[in-house]
């Protein structure tokens, strides 16, 4: 009868519950969201604590992420719809181990070489890499001319890469610090997506790299530029910023709504925002559009 069947069911479920931790029954069955909101939320429901003790993040990194949050979300915490890229997860990792093999060379303007180790355990299998950036932080006590040209070499110290012994590929990028002088910190993002893509995609949980940076005054031309290098004692080791796309059901998938708004002239790849704009442009664009609206 219905009653006896129900009794059998409750007995069976009671037996099952006694075997596993009760709160694990609330986990998503496929365990996708190991590093999301659910585990801590369930833990609070079950034992009322506010989550496990956490290591304190680097204060500069926290300041950067708070600024990023304001650029990407409203005060109520709702993701802004006018963003160009679709990553629904952005992670900032502070390097663990920093060993200086080559001291700074004031004559050539080379900053101290550093060894960096990033632990990417928090990146889950459902978070796919869209872009990776080395984030340099300056404070405004560094007196910069309007533009500085820096070359850097980034060497991956993974066993495989060392076995291949490929010479580091020198790259150059240009700083534009003046637009940040009013604030206490200045940030520069150096795109290393092509270098890190294979490593992160291959589920490598730790990335070990060494970085050498040499900067010269961009405004001086010819040999005089070389013989007036910049002193960069305050070049702190960069943090690693990963723009990821979380494909789990709990994550917000913006491209659904983008599909409806796609302009016919844009190629699909373009709209996915693989070339995400620096944060300042995003915020400025937001300001510009609101001013425009205001004038009308």
């Amino acid at each position: 009868s219905q009653a006896s069947r129900r009794e059998a069911q409750t007995a069976a479920s009671a037996e099952l519950e006694s075997e596993v931790e009760p709160w694990s029954l609330l986990q998503p069955l496929d365990g996708e969201d190991r590093a999301g909101l659910f585990p801590p939320l369930f833990k609070v429901l079950y034992d009322g604590q506010g989550g496990a003790p956490r290591l304190q993040p680097d204060s500069r990194d926290l300041r950067y992420m708070k600024r990023l949050y304001k650029a990407y979300a409203t005060k109520e915490g709702i993701p802004k719809s006018n963003r160009s890229h679709v990553s629904n997860t952005i992670r900032l990792f502070t390097p663990y181990i920093q060993r200086k093999r080559v001291p700074a060379d004031p004559v050539t303007g080379t900053a101290p070489s550093v060894d960096l180790l990033f632990n990417l355990d928090r990146v889950t299998a459902v978070e796919h890499l869209l872009k990776s950036v080395l984030l340099y932080t300056f404070n405004n006590s560094v007196s910069f001319p309007s533009a500085v040209k820096c070359g850097y070499s980034l060497v991956m110290n993974e066993p495989e890469s060392s076995r291949k012994a490929r010479p580091p590929a020198p790259r150059s990028f240009t700083f534009k610090p003046q637009f940040e002088f009013r604030k206490k910190y200045t940030w520069v993002e150096v795109d290393v997506t092509t270098l890190l893509q294979p490593l992160v995609a291959s589920d490598k949980r730790s990335i070990h790299m060494s970085v050498n940076v040499t900067c010269v005054n961009d405004q001086l031309q010819g040999p005089s530029a070389l013989d007036s290098p910049l002193k960069l004692p305050l070049l702190v080791p960069p943090s690693l910023l990963l723009y990821l796309n979380d494909t789990s059901a709990q994550a917000y998938h913006r491209w659904d709504s983008l599909h409806y708004k796609r302009r016919p002239s844009q190629a699909p790849g373009q709209e996915r925002g693989l070339s995400a704009r620096p944060m300042e442009e995003e915020a400025a664009k937001g300001v510009r559009s609101s001013r425009h609206r205001h004038r009308r």
Partner: protein, 136 residues
């Protein structure tokens, strides 16, 4: 037709014994009908602010109230809701409850959290703020 209309007009609109205020009450907006309610909480209240850095305040909202008998398009309720209402009112099965007032639409929420290893994560979660209620 003149005669028919004039005889209609002669009839009284409201019988003398009818309570007018009771009559009009049925046209008023019902007081506790199914609707969206605010519920603002701050993560510091939950002592979660050591790992949830932003947003400072979170308003998940919730749905509460009675579901009207004749649930029409106003709630976007499926036809099934009307069927469930009939089963309940005709008491075909006492275990079948009336339709409930539940969220029908959500909006996402951006969360900035500190991970146990000290890294910082910005994540966008689906369905974290109720934006519309329905009866079903």
């Amino acid at each position: 037709g003149q005669a028919a209309v004039s005889s209609e007009l002669k009839k009284p609109l409201v019988p003398a014994s009818f309570n007018l205020s009771e009559y009009f009450k049925q046209f008023l907006f019902p007081q506790n009908e199914c609707e969206l309610h605010d519920f603002r909480l701050s993560f510091s209240q939950l002592k979660w602010d050591n790992w949830i850095v932003a947003p400072q305040r979170y308003n998940p909202r919730y749905c509460k109230g009675d579901c009207p008998r004749a649930v029409g398009h106003r709630y976007g309720s499926p036809v099934h809701t009307v069927v469930q209402n009939v089963i309940c009112e005709k008491q075909l099965d006492s275990s079948v409850p009336r339709p409930s007032c539940v969220p029908a639409k959500y909006s996402p929420l951006s969360v900035l959290t500190i991970e146990p290893d000290g890294s910082i994560a910005y994540k966008e979660y689906e369905d974290m703020i109720a934006t519309k209620c329905t009866c079903r």
